[in-house]
């Protein structure tokens, strides 16, 4: 017979091991799950990106990386410093943040709304789902000519293209989550006589929240990626514009500064949504919790 032995810390004190301690002692205990991940370790997530940067630095220093292909991290830092000293990076970031932010907010709202319409009624699904799938399948670049004709070349067009890009991951994930909502909760909602609005608020939305948040995580990066496309049109600032410009003249360091900014924003955005997720889904007892 296999016998596993576990010895937990006992309270310090005069009482020997035979005598029970004076009061119940609730100490945090180390998680030793055999399956599934261990307890989260703070900052461990930073390991991957740090290793990536370390490998990059090593390859650059060792000469394995042609600096014209991928400049060394310090070169990129220096370039970033120059761009900051110029005020260019700040200006471009501010412009892009505004565009991406506006597009993100509107796009997430639109995606959520469409997902609710399509997820909760057949006729809504019939009308909404196909067009969204088509939109999703169509390259943003190819929509630009239409967007120019219909919405001009100003901020409006840019925000609309971002909204359309952001909308789809939110829609797809929220819609799938709604469709996967446990039918037992819908039954419950019916028996307690929830109105449609209350059903959406109390059951549909919280139940689909995990899916929505996954969609949101994708939407955050998509809003940034769309900048590369929209800031090629009638823009004179923005991080996408900066990168297109730099690509024209092969300014690899500037491109890589842009990429690093994208990467950092991606990590930050993801981190932010995960923080929201942890709070909003604190009720969940799941593998990752």
């Amino acid at each position: 017979m296999t016998v596993a032995t576990e010895v937990l810390p006992r309270p310090a004190g005069p009482a020997g091991p035979a005598a029970p301690p004076p009061g119940a002692l609730l100490l945090p205990r180390r998680r030793r799950r055999r399956l599934g991940p261990a307890r989260p370790v703070p900052f461990l997530r930073a390991l991957g990106p740090l290793l990536l940067v370390a490998a990059w630095a090593a390859a650059s220093a060792g000469g394995a990386l042609d600096p014209r292909t991928l400049p060394a991290p310090w070169t990129v830092l220096a370039t970033a410093g120059d761009l900051l000293a110029d005020g260019r990076l700040q200006r471009d970031l501010a412009a892009s943040l505004q565009r991406a932010g506006t597009g993100l907010v509107l796009g997430v709202a639109a995606g959520l709304l469409l997902a609710l319409v399509a997820g909760l009624s057949r006729i809504g699904e019939a009308l909404v789902d196909g067009p969204v799938q088509v939109k999703r399948a169509v390259p943003a670049l190819a929509l630009v000519p239409l967007a120019i004709v219909w919405f001009g070349i100003g901020e409006q067009m840019k925000v609309i293209v971002i909204v359309l890009s952001v909308l789809t991951p939110v829609y797809v994930n929220t819609h799938a989550a709604l469709r996967g909502l446990d039918a037992r909760y819908v039954e419950l909602a019916e028996t307690v006589g929830l109105s449609r609005g209350a059903f959406v608020r109390r059951v549909a939305l919280p139940g689909a929240l995990p899916g929505f948040l996954t969609g949101l995580r994708m939407a955050v990066t998509v809003s940034w990626l769309a900048l590369v496309v929209v800031e090629q049109i009638g823009a004179t600032s923005g991080i996408g514009y900066l990168m297109t410009q730099a690509r024209t003249y092969g300014q690899t360091e500037v491109i890589v500064v842009g990429l690093v900014v994208y990467g950092l924003l991606g990590l930050l955005g993801d981190h932010a949504v995960r923080a929201v997720e942890r709070r909003a889904l604190s009720w969940r007892r799941s593998l990752g919790a």
Binding site: R68, T69, P145, I148, V149, I233, G234, Y249
Partner: protein, 330 residues
């Protein structure tokens, strides 16, 4: 850093050893098609691989990666290469009718000549020949970039932008010029007279090659052979415009024959500017123009971007094929 100066007198090798291979970064399959259509790909003394690219920046990236050796391009990508510190000298220049680029004016924009450009919105695409054209138009009108609104767009978006009045003026090529006039000609859309804008464009396109390739005996000889054949091929185009339209625009690019003819007609006769100091000066003028507009990240020297050893090769081949060799003016 910057590229090492060209040893202008170093002899250009002629022997192509067997097994020599060149990768050509083509654009829209143009070089590939002209060589094949004119029969110049037959009994080629070296192996060639054509890889198709879209846009100058992508080709530059391919050069940088050593994934391409030679490429045909417009007149501004070599400038970008210089700015980027890439050593890719020009080995062949070709010129079409500069009047092939027209300035289209949106309906109701109120532009009848270059003098009316002040305060207007101009379509602008950095890194393209059209960039220089717009800047030259401003120069000709005695304006600076501050006197107008430059609207940065992708080249492909120019026609839509000017047709719908998102910009007032945009340089267009065929077949867009004709389509533009068909679409909004009766609403007041127009193109400025060809004579007024003839001086804005150089009509130049180049073939350039990586320096490392030119420093390699075998591949330099192959590039030389490629230059000779390219010159002959375009001379063939001059003689066989209809076949060219069919082979290239219709077969390869999927345009209508009508559109193809329009393009070929607008381009006129292909001539070969001598690859000499005059051409270098002409290119330097373009560089200075862009630099003066504050659009170059750093100033560069046009002379660094030519391999003049190819000058005699081009001239000889052109004459032999019955094509005109011209001196670049300015």
């Amino acid at each position: 850093e910057g590229p090492a100066p060209v040893a202008a007198d170093a002899p250009l090798p002629t022997d192509v050893p067997p097994g020599t291979r060149l990768v050509v970064a083509d654009q829209s399959e143009s070089l590939q098609t002209v060589l094949r259509a004119s029969g110049e790909l037959d009994d080629l003394p070296f192996e060639v691989e054509f890889a198709n690219f879209t846009g100058g920046p992508a080709i530059l990236e391919a050069f940088r990666a050593g994934a391409a050796d030679v490429a045909p391009v417009g007149d501004t990508p070599p400038i970008q290469a210089l700015v980027a510190g890439e050593d890719v000298p020009i080995v062949l220049a070709r010129q079409v009718d500069p009047r092939s680029t027209r300035l289209a004016v949106a309906p109701g924009a109120g532009v009848d000549g270059l003098d009316d450009l002040r305060g207007k919105r101009l379509a602008y695409a950095p890194g393209t020949a059209q960039q220089a054209i717009v800047l030259r138009a401003l120069e000709a009108a005695g304006l600076t970039t501050g006197d107008v609104e430059l609207v940065e767009l992708q080249l492909a978006d120019f026609p839509d932008a000017v047709r719908t009045g998102q910009v007032d003026v945009a340089p267009l090529l065929e077949p867009s010029v004709t389509r533009f006039l068909e679409a909004v000609g009766d609403e007041g859309g127009s193109v400025l007279p060809a004579e007024d804008t003839a001086a804005l464009s150089t009509g130049l396109t180049f073939v350039y090659a990586r320096r490392a390739v030119l420093q390699d005996e075998a591949r330099a000889a192959a590039v030389r052979a490629l230059v000779e054949r390219t010159v002959r091929a375009y001379a063939w185009v001059n003689e066989h415009p209809e076949e060219w339209v069919q082979e290239y625009y219709v077969e390869s690019q999927g345009l209508s024959a009508e559109d193809g003819r329009r393009i070929v007609a607008s381009q006129g006769e292909v001539v070969f500017p001598a690859l000499d100091e005059a051409l270098v000066a002409r290119q330097q003028a373009t560089i200075d123009l862009i630099d003066a507009a504050g659009e170059l990240p750093r100033p560069v020297r046009a002379a660094d971007g030519f391999d003049l050893r190819f000058g005699p090769v081009v001239a000889r081949s052109a004459r032999a094929a019955g094509a005109r060799v011209v001196t670049a003016g300015r």
